[in-house]
């Protein structure tokens, strides 16, 4: 799809962004980089990627639309252009993805002036890496069933509990933490914190290995970890609402602050794969069955993006949460179908692991396919999300 045409500010910025990316290629890394931020494993990897994000930030390609007061560059709707330019240049991804796509938009919407000034600049420059603390072993697929408890004592909160699925936990300075502050209400008993991790007393991090053999996500344990009340985001008991904002942005409702190439059309890569693959002795891009499958995905993708837009047009929303609550399910399953179709198109070559030189797209498709289960399982499995949609939006009786 040709992109909708641009405003003069966007045109000017696009020109600049393309120029900069052309003139400033990323330096050759000394180590093999992971395919996505979620698999960052070693210190050399994180150092290289932090440095790269910092340079893009200083060039104005990260935090592009964030107000200058908070360390951004104050443009309007230019972030996606920056992302696209970086993607087209084949630049490495932005490593502080949780900070950029989850924390920043959420703090911009729910944070105090102090919090905005304190947290956003460091996230944009990748000086401070963020991780996410929404998932728990006990909660399983029910994200609202958080057991990690924060009990108030004066101006502080004392946190005890256990988080899983924490990408970047081993490099993170901060965590966006969803914790229970009341056992009386399920949804309204949750509060959202900006919690220190690295070297913080009472916080310990243990890495886990994924089915792909990659690591990069962690368990985080809290034993009487103390957080000052100033690190609470929005009101006590508003945690669920704030977390929904976070996920809505993460799931493509917004371009975040530079989520690493999110704007580049994921279908293009699939079409390229099809052009380079065979199906029954013919170019897979000429196989109508494959073509139909690709276009089905393109329609779903455009539908999800258009729904994010429509969610912001009150006149076209009979129920305010109807679209926002859908996006996690829709986009995670879209990603899964997309990667799976890539596996099918790659055929025999989809058996190859990312470190096999013959693997198409550096082994992206099967690896990405397996990693999408992170999306469909974590942060409230899609089965639970469907319950929530059926109950909160359609008003059907609770399945629990």
């Amino acid at each position: 799809m040709p992109d909708a045409s641009l405003t003069s500010e966007q045109l000017e910025f696009q020109q600049y962004a393309r120029q900069w990316t052309a003139q400033n290629p990323a330096p050759a890394p000394s180590v093999r980089l992971p395919l996505t931020p979620l698999e960052v494993k070693t210190a050399p990897q994180i150092d290289y990627l932090r440095d790269w994000q910092r340079r893009c930030y200083e060039a104005g390609l990260v935090g592009t639309d964030v107000p200058t007061d908070y360390g951004g560059h104050g443009h309007n709707a230019c972030q996606s252009i920056a992302n696209r330019a970086l993607a087209d240049a084949g630049a490495p991804f932005m490593v502080n993805v949780v900070g950029l796509t989850m924390m920043v938009p959420t703090v911009l919407e729910h944070g105090t002036e102090e919090q905005k000034r304190k947290f956003i600049p460091g996230a944009l420059s990748a000086e401070e890496i963020w991780c996410q603390g929404f998932s728990e072993p006990g909660a399983g697929s029910d994200m609202a069933n958080q057991q990690t408890f924060a009990s108030r004592s004066g101006d502080e909160w004392v946190v005890n509990g256990h988080k899983v699925w924490t990408s970047f936990g081993h490099f993170a300075k901060w965590m966006i933490l969803l914790a229970r502050t009341s056992r009386d209400h399920k949804y309204d008993g949750l509060t959202y914190f900006l919690c220190p991790i690295e070297g913080h007393p009472g916080v310990s991090v243990k890495p886990l290995v994924k089915m792909t053999g990659e690591t990069g996500f962690n368990e985080v344990f809290f034993d009487d970890a103390v957080i000052p009340d100033a690190l609470r985001l929005d009101d006590v008991g508003k945690g669920w609402t704030v977390a929904m904002t976070t996920l809505t942005f993460e799931r493509g409702a917004g371009e975040g602050a530079g989520g690493g190439n999110s704007a580049s059309n994921p279908l293009d890569k699939l079409i390229q794969l099809a052009r380079g693959s065979q199906r029954n002795g013919q170019n897979a891009a000429d196989d109508p069955v494959t073509r139909d499958a690709i276009v089905q995905l393109a329609i779903t993708h455009e539908g999800i993006r258009s729904s994010s837009r429509r969610a912001r047009v009150p006149a076209l929303n009979d129920h305010p949460m109807r679209i926002p609550l859908q996006q996690k399910v829709s986009s995670s399953e879209f990603q899964q179908r997309l990667a799976r179709l890539g596996v099918d198109i790659a055929g025999a070559r989809s058996t190859l692991y990312k470190n096999d030189s013959a693997a198409p797209d550096k082994g992206h498709w099967p690896m990405s396919y397996m990693n999408t289960y992170g999306m469909t399982i974590a942060a409230g499995s899609n089965e639970i999300q469907r319950n929530i949609l059926g109950e909160r939006v359609l008003g059907l009786p609770k399945s629990k």
Binding site: P288, V295, I299, A315, L389, G390
Partner: protein, 388 residues
């Protein structure tokens, strides 16, 4: 270069006002009971005795007064010149009430007139703006949706044209004051307006499942039309330019219809008890309804996206509209299926209302091309011509 499609799809106050008006007007004048009494009283009437589908002509007169027929006609031609984004908003409500009416057919004809070039366009747009109804008569016997595939020919006789041949699958033909057709003359195809009362014009009614519209085959035998009925040349180009609007309008009808099917099934699932629980408690009921909702919402968003593309003349309007039609056809097929299945025994009977919407949706799913058709067309631009 066209402007950027507005982030809000250009769905502003005027559009919301019209949609809300339509919602309350139809909600009051055409509730489900009225629909049922109108089209379902006697199951033998349409199916066994072959009677024509009923519609409320009095209600239609009111609709004409409201000016809905002229919405797609430019103000210069006496119409409202309303945005596509606003029109689909209205059509969603038409579909949601499964309203039997010539509105969609007339809108689709208006789009073609709007895109046509030639002396005759103005006159016929005026007529529609003044309340005349029209329908496209462009489809061949195989139901091909290619604008190039008509079967009607013309020959000159003095200043007049004489038309011969047939057009098939003409929507709400028996409600139309005139028909728009593309007639082959030599190696060009001219766009003609053929009044329903023309001598030599014959409509043979199709026997169809849908109870909320009529459909017919238009036979033209030596039909003589005066110069003012010859709207202009390059009929195919006009049809092609109008195609995005036609697709997105049918998609909007499908989408409104689907929303009714969703809500009706949700209500049933809340009331109907089994194993001492409302069936909506069970995920085998709940999750398919949620999936249907997500399909409908993506389709609906694609409809407004396509409409906003059309309104700013975006070059990819046709693909955008094909995406909307594909998504709406598939969403319609899925909720139609679940609406009957989850209503259980009653949903399978004439007593329930779900079959009315099921049949209207099934008709629209294939009309102007189903999902597979639209996607194969999109692939041509998105991936490239086959065997390139």
């Amino acid at each position: 270069m066209s402007d950027a499609p507005p982030k809000d799809f250009g769905f502003g106050e005027d559009e919301a006002m019209l949609r809300d008006l339509a919602r309350s007007f139809l909600g009051e004048r055409f509730p489900i009971e009225t629909l049922r009494d109108l089209v379902c009283k006697d199951s033998d009437a349409v199916y066994e005795r072959g009677e024509r589908q009923a519609w409320d002509e009095a209600l239609w007169k009111e609709i004409v007064e409201l000016g809905w027929t002229g919405l797609a006609i430019p103000e210069a031609a006496g119409g409202v010149g309303f945005k596509q984004a606003g029109i689909v908003g209205l059509v969603e409500e038409i579909g949601r009430h499964a309203l039997p009416s010539p509105l969609v057919a007339t809108l689709n004809a208006s789009y073609v007139l709007r895109e046509a070039e030639g002396p005759g366009t103005e006159l016929w747009m005026n007529r529609i703006a003044a309340g005349a109804t029209a329908s496209l008569a462009i489809t061949d016997s195989r139901g091909s949706w290619e604008p190039a595939d008509g079967e009607i020919t013309a020959r000159r006789d003095g200043d007049d044209l004489v038309l011969d041949g047939s057009a098939f699958f003409v929507q709400d033909a028996f409600k139309s004051d005139f028909f728009l057709t593309a007639a082959q003359i030599g190696d060009e195809r001219v766009l003609c307006a053929v009044p329903a009362e023309s001598k030599g014009l014959d409509l043979s009614q199709d026997h169809i499942h849908d109870l909320t519209r009529d459909q017919a085959t238009l036979h033209l035998q030596e039909v003589r039309i005066p110069p003012e009925n010859v709207i202009g040349p390059a009929a195919e180009a006009a049809l092609l330019r109008a195609w995005p609007s036609i697709l997105v309008t049918v998609a909007a009808d499908l989408c409104g219809c689907a929303e009714w099917q969703l809500q009706a099934t949700v209500e049933y699932a809340k009331d109907r008890k089994q194993f001492d629980r409302p069936i909506g408690f069970f995920q085998a009921v709940k999750h398919p309804l949620v999936n249907a909702m997500m399909d409908i919402d993506r389709a609906r968003s694609l409809i407004y996206r396509a409409a906003s593309f059309i309104d700013v003349g975006d070059p990819s309007s046709l693909d955008a509209a094909r995406m909307a039609k594909s998504a709406a056809s598939d969403a319609g097929a899925f909720i139609s299926d679940r609406s009957v299945q989850l209503h259980g025994g009653i949903g399978f009977t004439w007593e329930s209302d779900v079959h009315i919407f099921f049949k209207r949706s099934m008709h629209n799913q294939s009309l102007y091309g189903d999902g597979v058709h639209q996607r194969s067309k999109i692939a041509e631009t998105m991936i490239g011509p086959l065997g390139k």
